[in-house]
């Protein structure tokens, strides 16, 4: 199989990640932060090591501000539900994933908050102006994705953070597609909350993610055991355990640490350049096929290394299915991003999304192009 769905989850995982997960099940088999015996303490130390790795990788505010989550969605929900109060207003971009749009929409439907969507343009100043135009006196949070998961559009996070801070509003960044592929630096860029998955560009196992905060207060999404202050029925207000009720996914976290190590050794810029070169070949090839529309990539604006396209007269799921029959894994449909498809006018057929990794080759892309050409030519394929 040629795997080109790394925007959904990266595969194959490095052998070092698989080995680390396997080893952790034996070596770190005790519950961290619960016992005083050696294996429990060792597990706590190992988990702390991965907090340090994440903090360093994302230029964070200290390992104790790094909270582990099941995924990026849980981290985003924690920020949205943990900061907003009744009567607040929140601003989100037109390219948000449902992980942002749905919790915001749900809180709006229940009458607790209101929200607005600001459009994203290729012109950074236009995007900044669009955001400022939608601000209200009660805007309490801005949530933006670093990269559109459908079109690869890179949002101007630094400029948006500056605009947010001019109005003393915190900014939360969804790093689902950017983490491990593009540099994301919290302090340098002014990010208040950074939500990342562990299993995509960071090469960790599924079921891992993290929320990095700038020490701003958050209310927990989950309440329960933290291993501390057990006699009190109040959730201990100490980060990061305050946001980590229940047993941590230690094997996943240890695997994530190895994934981060792998990416750091390669260098985020190398990953980006390698994957972008593949996307460039793909875009050029797709544009030469009659009936194909390529979205986003290939313009003068820098893009993240993923490509969305559609084929005239065919639903994207049909095309993805035909590719799957030939053992090529891509994703068709709407990619859990209703807002982005409405904004781009692609709600009728969705798009076929191709997201290579540094492990793919130009030969993989050529095979895909060859097959897309056939699908476009033979209507019944």
């Amino acid at each position: 199989m040629i795997y080109l769905d790394n925007a959904a989850t990266s595969w194959p995982k490095p052998f070092a990640v698989i080995e680390a997960v396997n080893r952790s099940l034996s070596v770190y088999g005790a519950n961290p932060g619960r016992g005083g015996y050696q294996m429990s303490v060792d597990a706590s130390v190992a988990v702390f090591g991965v907090r340090e790795q994440l903090n360093e990788f994302f230029d964070g505010y200290g390992p104790e501000t790094v909270c582990f989550t099941q995924n990026c969605t849980q981290a985003l929900n924690t920020v949205i539900r943990g900061t907003l109060r009744p009567g607040d207003h929140v601003l989100i971009s037109s390219l948000e994933h449902n992980a942002v749009a749905r919790p915001v929409h749900a809180l709006t439907k229940s009458g607790e908050i209101t929200y607005d969507v600001f459009p994203v343009f290729s012109d950074v100043s236009k995007t900044g102006a669009a955001l400022e135009e939608k601000l209200r006196p009660n805007t309490a949070l801005i949530v933006v994705t670093a990269v559109s998961n459908v079109f690869g559009t890179i949002l101007p996070i630094k400029e948006l953070a500056e605009a947010a801070h001019r109005h003393r509003i915190p900014i939360c960044v969804d790093g689902a597609q950017a983490a491990g592929v593009l540099p994301l630096k919290m302090r340098e860029t002014g990010i208040d909350f950074l939500c990342v998955p562990g299993h995509k560009g960071l090469l960790g196992p599924m079921g891992t993610g993290a929320l990095l905060t700038s020490n701003l207060a958050l209310r927990p999404l989950l309440f329960g055991g933290t291993g501390t202050g057990s006699l009190s029925l109040d959730q201990p207000p100490v980060m990061p355990e305050m946001l980590e009720s229940g047993t941590l996914n230690v094997p996943g976290i240890i695997g994530l640490g190895k994934g981060i190590e792998t990416v750091a050794e390669m260098g985020v810029n190398t990953v980006y350049e390698t994957e972008t070169a593949l996307c460039r070949t793909l875009c050029e090839g797709l544009r030469a096929i009659p009936g194909i529309t390529v979205y986003g990539n290939g313009t003068d604006t820098p893009q993240a290394p993923l490509v969305s396209f559609d084929l005239e007269g065919r639903h994207s799921e049909d095309v993805a299915s035909a590719l799957a029959d030939a053992e090529i894994a891509v994703r068709g449909g709407y990619h859990c991003a209703a807002l982005a498809h409405r904004f781009a006018g692609t709600t009728e057929t969705g798009t076929v999304r191709v997201s290579p990794s540094f492990a793919n080759s130009q030969a993989d892309i050529n095979k895909l192009l060859n097959l897309v050409e056939k699908i476009a030519f033979y209507k019944n394929l």
């Binding site: 961290p32 932060g33 619960r34 016992g35 005083g36 303490v41 706590s44 130390v45 702390f48 907090r51 200290g62 390992p63 104790e64 933290t226 291993g227 501390t228 202050g229 057990s230 006699l231 009190s232 201990p236 100490v238 990061p240 355990e241």
Partner: protein, 76 residues
């Protein structure tokens, strides 16, 4: 120099504090608070075998909120 115990807020701060003390030449270990009924319930202590008056300062400079544990708290 003598053995001392320091109470910290969580296991995360225990690891952070232990690392800071080790970097400064102290023999520090993470131990479970032997009497969870004191100090609000379960928690961790740092046991420093060669403790002196600088330990608390090192912990606080490294962002670890710590308190010297009273003698009785370190024994069940």
């Amino acid at each position: 120099m003598s053995q001392k115990f320091y109470r910290v807020n969580s296991v995360t701060y225990a690891v952070k504090g232990r690392d800071a003390l080790l970097r400064n030449g102290y023999r520090a270990e993470i131990v479970k608070n032997p009497d969870p009924s004191r100090g609000g319930g379960c928690g961790y202590l740092l046991r420093v075998d060669n403790a002196d008056s600088r330990c608390l300062d090192i912990l606080r400079r490294n962002g670890v909120r710590a308190f010297a544990a009273p003698e009785g708290e370190t024994r069940r």
